[in-house]
Symmetry: C2
Subunit: 295 residues, 2 copies
């Protein structure tokens, strides 16, 4: 099996667990909330965060099923953040991954609740999984995820992003937004995977470094694709950052310097993996693969 096939297999596994989760919901008067949650969960996400978590788990030699509820939870937290980001009071986006955004289908009120419900369900899942596990690693993984998803991580980044709308943004602020809004959860995915797999302190640290680097690279690549990509492949309007007067690295330092920065970050991330030797070969490949993605 080559790396590309390994990636596809991981995505399939994660989708299988997400399917199982949404197929086993209790009969409820409030069924529509599950529909709204599932709509965004199954709207064609790349499953990057759960794939990274699973790969980190495997790289440290992790065993057992505990990784799957955590992988689903990280995808749920990511999806809640997208639903709320797309709301009229935030980015006001009509299209996400080629489909109408959650509030366009279910209305604003239900979309707010669907986001809330995904965030809460993510913790429900992780807590229930932690109850089946004798060690402390599940609690430690939750701690990392909760911190990176919160005011000192993803939400903090979103706050500054919201305040920066329509304003001239300097490099420092832009990097703060990317680091917190995007890289924090990618870092959390990798570290939590390593912790759940009972990796060494040195390994977890290396995974954290990789996470920061490819998280930043991923977001800058997103900014680049907003200019050079195709609407069809991306599933969303291109040039949206220009239209929304949104500062990106590209608008500050230009396309070529941005590309070089993505490359530098990716190499830096991969070099942090040295401590693993061969065991992180897939993670190294995936980091390169992300750098060259066109969607």
């Amino acid at each position: 099996m080559n790396y590309k096939e390994a990636l596809e297999q991981k995505i399939k596994l994660i989708n299988h667990y997400l399917d199982k989760l949404f197929n086993s919901i209790p009969d409820s008067q409030a069924k529509i909330i599950y529909d709204a949650m599932a709509y965004s969960i199954f709207a064609g996400g790349k499953r990057l965060r759960p794939v990274l978590m699973l790969s980190a788990f495997e790289a440290v030699g992790g065993e057992g099923e505990i990784i799957y509820p955590f992988a689903c939870a990280i995808e749920m937290i990511h999806t809640y953040s997208l639903i709320h980001d797309d709301l009229p009071a935030m980015d006001n986006d009509d299209l996400r991954r080629g489909k109408p955004t959650n509030h366009k289908v279910y209305g604003e009120g239900m979309a707010i609740l669907a986001g809330d419900a995904l965030l809460n369900k993510a913790y429900e899942l992780m807590i229930k999984a932690s109850l089946t596990c004798s060690g402390r690693e599940a609690l430690e993984a939750m701690d990392i995820i909760a911190t990176c998803a919160g005011t000192e991580g993803m939400i903090g980044g979103q706050v500054i992003d919201l305040l920066s709308e329509g304003r001239q943004v300097d490099m420092e602020t832009l990097l703060f937004i990317h680091k917190n809004k995007t890289a924090a959860m990618i870092e959390a995915s990798l570290k939590a995977g390593g912790i759940l797999g009972k990796g060494t302190k040195e390994e977890i640290e290396a995974l954290g470094q990789l996470g920061y680097c490819i998280g930043m690279a991923f977001q800058i690549q997103d900014d680049i694709l907003d200019i050079t990509g195709s609407q069809e492949k991306l599933g969303k309007a291109i040039n949206s950052d220009i239209k929304n007067e949104k500062a990106t690295l590209v608008s500050i330092v230009g396309l070529e310097a941005s590309r070089k920065y993505v490359e530098k970050l990716t190499k830096q991330g991969i070099s942090a993996l040295e401590v693993f030797g061969e065991k992180a070969a897939f993670l190294a490949w995936l980091s390169y693969y992300l750098m060259t993605r066109t969607y």
Copy 2:
């Protein structure tokens, strides 16, 4: 110390811990999110849920400090739900506890994020507290809280409430909303307090029954006060349910039958406390006190 003084002391203790929490926030570019969170946390809430949690903890003979982060967390989850409920896409309320609602002060986008941040911070707090605790009771308490706050609890109730707006609602639906939107978190507060205090299975069950009963009574009393109360005491507009064409128990069975139902539920709840003997005297008093409240 009489009961009223004991109640005030508990509220003081909880406010002290909440103060400490918001006074020790890290220096951050995203400081405004903490302001928005604190605005609603310190907007004059009755601290009912944390007081109940603390009282249940004491009733089962609980010891130690673990109860305080959990008590703060339950108040944060309650506060997040109020901020999101008040949004224009939901109840569209301008006033809460006599003050402008969160989105009126911070804008809609920031209010959505402040709600998200409070929910996430609640889990951060509980997870960090769980890491300091050797037993499983913290995880079990989190499990109850997460379930009652989610789609099979508070969010489920809010979904049906949202869908019922401007519609004729039957008794069954109304009781579903009250049970899930209000009673679930009150039940969770009491049960989690009992679990954290290492109560017996029998005690936890009794606390759950009390929670359901006084949770329902509390919400119906709210509906009654919306008609008979004073705007000054309540800190919000009265007759809002009529204006918003919101079905309440009062609109279905009338004022007198609603009052009788509150009384019946309260007595039923208190009788569940028999298993405790004298140890639950404060909880019994508090249940009566809530029944006769005017704000």
